[in-house]
Amino acid sequence: MRSKRDNGNRIAAHHNAAILSLQSLTDILVGIDDAEIIKQEAFGSRKIGLIYIRTLVDLERLNESIIKPLKTRPTAPLLQCVESANVSQFNTLEQAERNLMSGCVLVNDMIENVWWAIKLPTSLGRSVQPSDTESVVYGAKESFTEQLDQNITLIRRRLPVVALKTEKFSIGTLSNTSIVLMYLEGITNPNFIKIARSKIKRIDFDQFLADSQVAAFMDDNIHSVFPQFLSTDRPDQCSWSLGLGKVVILVDGSPFALVAPITFFHLFQSPEDYFLRWIVASLFRSTRYASFLLSSLLVPLYVALTTYNYQVVPIQILGVLLESRSRLPFSPFWEALLMLVTLQILNEASLRMPTKAGQTLGVVGGIVIGEAAVTAGFVSNVLIVLVGISAIASFLVPNYQLAKSNTVLQFLLLILAALFGIFGIAVGLLVILAHLNALTSLRQPYLAPVAPFFAREWSDLFIRAPLPWQSTRPKSLAPLQRWRMGGRKS
């Protein structure tokens, strides 16, 4: 029986069988229009074959670094003519194919039958731009791009130490995606590096287009709605995490990096927390926690109170609820479900539409549909207010994936509220808490430093205490160097 890995690698295995020659390479490049094969060109006394993919190679550098020197120095040895530092010799067809597809020019000395790969990849890609998903008002504006090397540069600039190690791996039998595991040697717990390394090595799939796909193969619990890797496009966030003793995984072609191990509470921390005054930052962070609870609980609580538990509603609000619901055709659950589904439709639509049309959608969705729904008597004005607050509160969670997960929690709690009232919400929250407690990120507890309890780390949990007070790295990360102070040179 053929194993999964054998099945996935059958394309590469097929080529391994053939012998490396100009003819065999020509054969496998049949049907690739942008492949350039320059055979038996006489550069002086040499007979040389050049093979490259036109769209992957920087043609200007090809001319300057290879073709021009070969023509102007007809008698010099081949390697002395090539003006590039990145030259390697290879001798298998598989290596030839990999080099070709990663932007190398393959040079064949036809007399001595030696093959060289000269790396001249095109620098096509967008420049460094401000982050869209984690924008900050006060702080660095740089964000990652789709180019791996550029992303490593952005982190290295912030951590110019040789202890910052980068281990490169290649995953995906079709995409051949490069991923880089970064960590600070001497600070990061070797156990995390070992786990991350082994998880990366076990990845077996054909194509990887985004960091989240890599995370999906590395998650400890693939069924959880909670992200077990922090996905960030900010280099400062990555360097801060590396400094604490975490590992960072960069994926070629993705403008996001994966940070691990993380806890549930890390998802509420914004880079801006560390740029603002500590009291202000603490207030904002607390607001984020409150908003998360509001966005998940507000609508389910409305359903529970209006369906079962009218006793606990303050009388002032009870009067408003009685009036607003007195002539509605739907029960509170269907009313809330209708509004939440409408909100999801508007949300999805606004993401897919062009920016200018998105503004119109906001007006149509928010004002026209909302107002019309109340006037027509489909929903109560109280619910419109609650759904509005809930939607806005969900945007305060800085982690995009958690904000999306929140929607699932909201629906779950809504169903429980409709079935069992406040009791259902309490049971739902307990189940979520039990699940969070069982969850791990790189096999480290997801609810640390609450469970297990690390008192010192509470200074950067619900509040962000002054930085001079945070003199140690989180104990939950078991760093090799605990103290963050004492490194000042005289």
Partner: protein, 362 residues
């Protein structure tokens, strides 16, 4: 068993543990808000032939045209059920916040009524108990013509005084029940009098067990407010001395001597002379001291009289019996305490700290 199955088994076990360990049932009764009428007020009085006459205002809370529903019942719960037969929506008791009990019924005893409300899981113990003198149902019917949200505005008034914890002896069901079953205190409740178109605060109704025994009115009530706990009263009028004290705060210290033969109450009174219509010159320090002494003497005399009268009636609304409680010694029985209370010597000592609002010269 896979890790996934183990996780879910944990969750399911947790779920059922929560369900059964708390004694809760997930099968709750639906009370869709638009299908119910959560009443906030009950008025209970004698209905003749040992019946109760229970009234409420519907529709509750919302400012719409309202009516007073009255039913005759043997039991309070029976009354609640009969209301539903008379009204198109289900009248539910989960939001009842005020019970107005007729004085005549209160004099006969309200123990059963209190027990019924206390043991009903739907009824919150944060329920104001009020004693009314006069035809409260008639007052409701008359006032509903003039002000639609009458039930709600009554609740707001009572809640305001309950928050202030002074001026009016507000009490809720929980406090009342606690005092009812304590051997060291007599339950109290505010007493209101129904006049043709107003509801006026009369004073504090004092109960002996579950029966209304007496009521403290006007000055006695003000003095009771001052000494029952540290309190704040906006104005105390002493007509005999032609003086009004404003922004009055009292600090009370009570002490029972070792052999439990005498009790001393020291009241430090802070405030200012708000109005004075007497003959003394308040800018003169000697005359001001003399006025202070007169006020102190007046308050001491009247407070002592009040306490003596309570002693004679074997009532202890100030809960002075709790002073007999000590760690590692058995508490007294109610009879024992009341006997001692009747024979205790009571010393009241007022210390006035008044601001004059004028310059005082020596």
């Amino acid at each position: 068993m896979t890790k996934f199955c183990r996780g879910w088994t944990t969750i399911v076990i947790t779920w059922f543990s929560v369900l059964f360990a708390t004694g809760c049932t997930p099968f709750v009764r639906t009370h869709t808000i638009e299908e119910i009428a959560p009443v906030i007020l009950w008025s209970v009085k004698e209905g003749g032939n040992n019946h109760l006459s229970i009234s409420t205002v519907v529709p509750p809370i919302v400012p719409e045209k309202k009516q007073v529903l009255t039913v005759q019942a043997d039991l309070l719960e029976q009354g609640g059920k009969r209301f539903n037969l008379k009204y198109d929506k289900e009248l539910v008791s989960g939001q009842v916040r005020m019970v107005f009990i007729d004085e005549q019924l209160a004099r006969k005893g309200i123990g059963d009524l209190i027990n019924t409300m206390m043991t009903d899981p739907d009824i919150s113990p944060r329920l104001f108990i009020v004693v009314v003198r006069g035809d409260f149902d008639g007052f409701l019917r008359q006032q509903l013509e003039q002000q639609k949200p009458l039930d709600y505005s009554l609740y707001l008034d009572l809640r305001h005084y309950a928050k202030e914890q002074s001026e009016i002896s507000m009490v809720d069901l929980h406090e009342f029940t606690k005092k009812l079953y304590s051997p060291f205190s007599s339950p109290i409740a505010p007493m209101f009098k129904v006049e043709p178109d107003t509801l006026t605060y009369e004073g504090t109704a004092v109960f002996s067990h579950d029966k209304l025994f007496t009521s403290l009115s006007q000055t006695d009530d003000e003095l009771f407010q001052l000494v029952q706990r540290d309190s704040r009263i906006s104005t105390i009028i002493l007509p005999e001395l032609s003086i009004a004290l404003g922004h009055v705060r009292s600090h009370v210290q009570t002490n029972l001597n070792q052999n439990r033969s005498q009790i001393s109450i020291r009241v430090d009174l802070y405030g200012r002379i708000q109005e004075y219509n007497g003959t003394k010159n308040l800018t003169n320090a000697n005359e001001l001291d003399s006025l202070n002494a007169e006020v102190e003497s007046y308050l001491q005399r009247h407070t002592t009289q009040l306490l003596t009268s309570l002693q004679q009636q074997r009532l202890d609304p100030l809960q002075l019996g709790t002073l007999t409680l000590h760690p590692f010694s058995p508490p007294m029985t109610e009879e024992e305490w009341l006997y001692r209370w009747d024979n205790l010597k009571v010393y009241v000592d007022y210390h006035l700290h008044l601001d004059t609002l004028t310059n005082v010269t020596a």
